[in-house]
């Protein structure tokens, strides 16, 4: 236990010393890793934010049924009765044309326009909450209602949200591909750093082997080095994203004020941040391990 502890604290101290001995190149490596990681991680963060946003809006599967302008009250009532009996309809609300006009009037600065109208251009409408959120079911429901008498137009309100969802899953695939490619870069960066270190420490490695160092003893400082550099790269990526969010939120606040909605970017959740750090640490360790495995055997004492 004591020897184990000595070995590991020795390796850790040595790795830190090596990292600090060449501060400039260490910083550059860490910056490269940070930038490489911040692209997929930042993309993931944006996707998460967009998803929450679209989730807020398309939470309930809603349809709007607009009646023809010449539809009478009776005909509207008949449609109401059909909706009441329909198995797929959870609830619905009738919006008569007059109250729709009132709503519009209270809306953003349109009162003058509405007042100038000779007659009400709006149709009676039903706002319908469906029981199912399955897109196919909603679509067939929409098609069915479209055929009802005096139903002028039926609109799936969540259609655009579904399109956004589809785009988001496309984005997720893109982010995953980006992450895979850039992870490879990170492994390559560590691989090369460690390769150079091994070459410049040829003598030390040879002497150590000659006086009884196991391969584990020689490997350990390099693995610690890779892991620490990876972790620093992950931290740099996190900070880059934080800076990006800070800058974007500044502009977004003005935009949100103009469009009267509240939308701010949020950073990765603590779990995701932790995953980012662990993943980058692991990548650094992996790069170091590969490098040590492919170079150390070349240095055999003679």
């Amino acid at each position: 236990m004591s020897a184990w502890f000595s070995h590991h604290s020795y390796a850790l101290a040595l790795a830190l010393k090596r990292l600090l001995r060449t501060p400039f190149s260490s910083l550059l490596s860490i910056a490269v890793m940070g930038i490489a990681l911040s692209l997929p991680a930042g993309g993931y963060m944006l996707l998460g934010n967009l998803q929450t946003f679209s989730g807020h809006i398309s939470g309930a599967p809603q349809l709007s049924l607009f009646l023809a302008l010449d539809a009478s009250r009776d005909e509207a009532a008949q449609i109401g009765a059909r909706l009441k009996q329909h198995p797929q309809v959870a609830s619905f609300q009738f919006v008569p044309k007059d109250s729709a006009l009132q709503q519009l009037k209270q809306g953003n600065g349109l009162a003058d326009v509405v007042d100038s109208l000779a007659q009400n251009p709006l149709p009676d409408a039903f706002v319908i909450n469906a029981k199912s959120a399955v897109p196919e079911v909603l679509e067939s429901l929409r098609a069915e209602m479209q055929k009802w008498p005096k139903a002028e137009h039926v609109q799936l309100d969540s259609a655009w949200a579904r399109r956004l969802d589809a785009l988001l899953s496309l984005g997720r695939v893109a982010v995953l591909m980006l992450a895979a490619l850039l992870s490879l870069t990170l492994v390559a960066v560590t691989f090369n750093t460690i390769r150079l270190q091994i070459l410049t420490r040829r003598d030390e490695i040879e002497v150590s082997k000659l006086i009884g160092a196991t391969n584990g003893f020689i490997r350990r400082p390099f693995l610690y080095f890779g892991a620490i550099q990876g972790m620093a790269g992950g931290t740099a990526a996190w900070l880059i994203i934080a800076l990006g969010i800070h800058l974007i939120n500044g502009t977004l606040a003005d935009l949100a004020l103009l469009y009267a909605f509240d939308f701010r970017l949020h950073h990765l959740s603590p779990e995701d941040s932790m995953s980012l750090l662990l993943f980058s640490t692991w990548l650094g360790w992996l790069g170091a391990w590969l490098s040590v495995a492919s170079h150390l055997w070349q240095i055999e004492p003679k």
């Binding site: 004591s2 184990w4 150590s208 006086i211």
Partner: protein, 217 residues
């Protein structure tokens, strides 16, 4: 205890460095290995530390057949040997102290015990006042003493030195030899390869003489 039985070593595409060598060295003995350059002295010492492997025969060191040791077992064997290399293998990127500290770090000593042991070893070879110096600033004799300090800091039972007086003038060389005799007197088994017969002096020492890879008796 070191035992060679019918040991031969042939380097790939080359000559036989050692031919059918058999001998035994008891615990606490001090033995010189002599012979012209190329006689196989270095090869013999490297076989003991498993730096080279024999083509045939068995080599028993401290009860283990070194010829078939693998991986971590080799490392542990080497920790119990004190090795002074012909080409010294000093690390010039660190202080005298850190050079001697390396074997203890490899064995996993805690820093406090290790520091004490390093000072003790440096004291034995008379380099205590140079512990912070860079090895490059040391004289030839001092560098050799640094190598000895590094070899004995682990308190090995067997001390092996390959041409420890190789390029030292006679006074320094005698100094170094006296040092090995001191280790021998406290019970360490000492093996020294040398082509310098003058150093053996009048001392009644056991000598293994190698001639073209064969043991001359």
């Amino acid at each position: 205890m070191i035992n060679f039985s019918n040991v031969s070593k042939r380097y790939p595409n080359s000559y036989d460095a050692l031919k059918n060598i058999t001998f035994t060295i008891e615990t606490g003995e001090m033995v010189f290995i002599t012979g012209h350059s190329g006689a196989g002295k270095s090869t013999l010492l490297k076989l003991i530390a498993a730096i080279e492997r024999p083509t045939s025969g068995s080599i028993i060191v401290n009860g283990q057949n070194v010829a078939v040791l693998k991986g971590a077992a080799i490392s542990i064997l080497r920790r119990n040997l004190g090795l002074v290399f012909q080409d010294q293998k000093i690390l010039f990127d660190r202080s005298v102290f850190d050079n001697v500290l390396l074997p203890l770090q490899i064995s996993g000593f805690d820093p406090k015990t290790a520091t004490g042991r390093v000072r003790a070893a440096l004291d034995k070879v008379g380099l205590l006042d140079k512990e912070k110096a860079r090895p490059i600033t040391l004289s030839g004799g001092e560098q050799q003493r640094l190598c000895i300090a590094r070899a004995v800091v682990n308190r090995p039972s067997i001390l092996i030195a390959d041409e420890p007086t190789g390029n030292l003038d006679t006074d320094y060389a005698r100094d170094i030899m006296d040092m090995f005799r001191l280790f021998h007197q406290v019970g360490v088994t000492v093996l020294i390869a040398t082509h310098d017969a003058e150093l053996l002096g009048g001392a009644q020492q056991r000598i293994l003489a190698l001639d073209h890879g064969k043991l001359a008796t």
